[in-house]
Symmetry: C2
Subunit: 342 residues, 2 copies
DNA sequence: CTGAAAGCGCTAACAT
DNA sequence: ATGTTAGCGCTTTCAG
């Protein structure tokens, strides 16, 4: 009838003890030497593997955690996965990965699925925050940590990147190295990162005494091809630098420049963001702003684990906490000195 | 005492019916109009979400599938994830992702964890096959599909890449475009892909009437930095082409060539393998051999779903099947014509 | 130290 | 059409 897999019952029969004793031995609770031996022998002879589902139903915990990200193909999320995995694995949790493609309905579904008890907690990285998100976060059936910015009154732990300051860092650097026509390839304007990077770009421009020129700015989706197309279009406006909202866009931009026979950085400088593995994939290596993806992932995982620990304790739930990872400019060859107009 | 989450019991009480009726309504089995309405209202008022764990315990299935790959940072596996996800999602399964770092013990642990009933089936992509793998595959507690080659006598479905033929395709092409000193940056020699690519390289060399020169060959691990280092070393031996066992290595090699001021493809041609997203990330775009990663992922998922369907039926288990995806050469600028020795 | 028994939330006979 | 009841495999009181 069943799956044929050994259970505590089969072990108990074989060892001639009760299922309670089997459970105790298997969980390292005290038992007589003799009992321990017989149970262990029976278990290994039968090739017993505890049924995690049954254990979860009883214990109320699955020891699984979920990470939902917009795009598994984007290296910045890979970095987060690695960081999160390191922390959660050490704590004895499996990690379930979800790629939502930044589709709002998918994100909401993940949030609601916390109620199905498939995982004990969730780290989610939405790039847009709608009212539905806020509502779903408020009513989440389990602990959630958001990687990204969200309104202050949403009672959820969050880990943020400071992309405003990050964008400023990049633009200032470009200005410092002599560029004056700094183009900007940004992500979608209706996303939080897109919006913030735009703010940083404008602020830095103002700081440097440069005027904002809409013809030097493009919004597109995050991705190599998009970066190439946007940069292509931008070239008609003779920029001396292209700042991109992530490394994928920057790689695409660099390709477009090469295709036009322009030299990087002599003719046009290029800078990216995220300082992902891609920053050192092309030529020349890209200057990029590290937004602390690894640190954000680690921190998010730690926050989630803390919540989980507290949930067990009798303590009331402490107020939500929010950390912001500081940005860091990593200078590489793509923003070296401009050609001297001999 | 419980988690406070609504259950069938709370709904039954609120709707004034039995838990059986609740279950029926929730599962779309016939019931009187009146009953349906009251149950549905109660459920939505309570914000009920079925407990998937309890459902699994009862039904014996989790509707979760696992994909275990060597490295989540390698775009070729990202392509597989996408393909697998598409198929499994359509069939109503969640996908659990595991990055094993190609560590044998991790892979074995994943294989054995099938016994804990956390997921209904497994797709695994090992790059080494040890005796322990074979043993674990034989005794797997659930359906498994292997992406990769394994001994014929292992009774498991598998989906293979033809990397021997793939490597031949690339080397022939390099030869056709006039290259005669074709260097090879390969992955670890103790892996199945590494071994096969080496075979293809040698076979093609022989076919083209070229001699195998060990000083033109390097083994390293798969990764951009490794590719750069290996190519760097190879340059002392004046190759006119560098064939790399994957796109990451090729990107690294391209970077090393650029750093030395060599032109691609005029001075040295570069070709990669996998035709991943990275092939079009750098400059010039890379010629690469598509090993059918998307198709392999899709096929693996289909095979697994078939096994799952059959497991339910009374049919005896059919013999294992093995598919091989044909390789396809994608020519891009990195292997354009060599400079004419004016 | 050990066994009997309850019950986690749900589905599926079986009865009514 | 609906209610009662028996488990799925496990952990954990509660007695002995």
């Amino acid at each position: 009838m069943g799956t044929g897999q050994p259970t505590v019952v089969s072990i108990a029969e074989r060892a001639g003890v009760s299922i309670a004793s089997v459970s105790r031995v298997l969980n390292g609770v005290g038992a007589r030497r003799d009992t321990v031996e017989r149970v262990e022998r029976a278990a290994s002879e039968l090739g017993y593997v505890p049924n995690a589902v049954a254990r979860s139903l009883k214990g109320g915990r699955t020891r699984q955690l979920t990470f939902a990200m917009p795009d598994i193909g984007n290296p910045v999320y890979v970095a987060m996965v690695r960081a999160i995995q390191t922390v959660t694995k050490a704590a004895g949790y499996r990690l379930l990965l979800h790629s939502t493609d930044a589709v709002v309905d998918d994100e909401l579904a993940v949030l609601r699925s916390l109620g199905d008890r498939t995982s004990d907690g969730l780290i989610i990285c939405p790039i847009r925050i709608t009212d539905d998100h806020v509502e779903a976060l408020r009513t989440a059936a389990g602990p959630v940590v958001v990687i990204g910015s969200l309104p202050d009154d949403v009672p959820v732990d969050s880990v943020r990147a400071d992309s405003v300051a990050g964008a400023e860092l990049a633009v200032r650097h470009l200005h410092d190295t002599g560029r004056r026509r700094i183009a900007f390839v940004n992500g979608p304007s209706d996303t939080v990162p897109g919006h913030n990077r735009d703010r940083g770009y404008r602020a830095a421009l103002a700081d440097c005494g440069l005027v904002y020129d809409p013809s030097l700015v493009r919004h597109t989706d995050f991705g190599i091809e998009s970066g190439a197309e946007a940069a292509e279009a931008l070239l008609d406006h003779a920029p001396d630098a292209v700042f991109c909202a992530n490394d994928q866009l920057a790689l695409g931009a660099a390709r477009a420049l090469h295709a036009r026979g322009l030299r990087i950085p002599e003719d046009v400088a290029v800078a990216g963001m995220d300082d992902s593995m891609l920053a050192q994939a092309g030529w020349p290596p890209l200057t990029s702003v590290d937004l602390g993806s690894t640190e954000r992932g680690r921190r998010a995982a730690e926050l989630l684990l803390e919540r989980l620990g507290i949930a067990g304790a009798s303590t009331g739930n402490p107020p939500p906490r929010s950390t912001t990872a500081p940005p860091r400019l990593v200078v590489r060859a793509s923003t070296g000195p401009a050609a001297t107009d001999s």
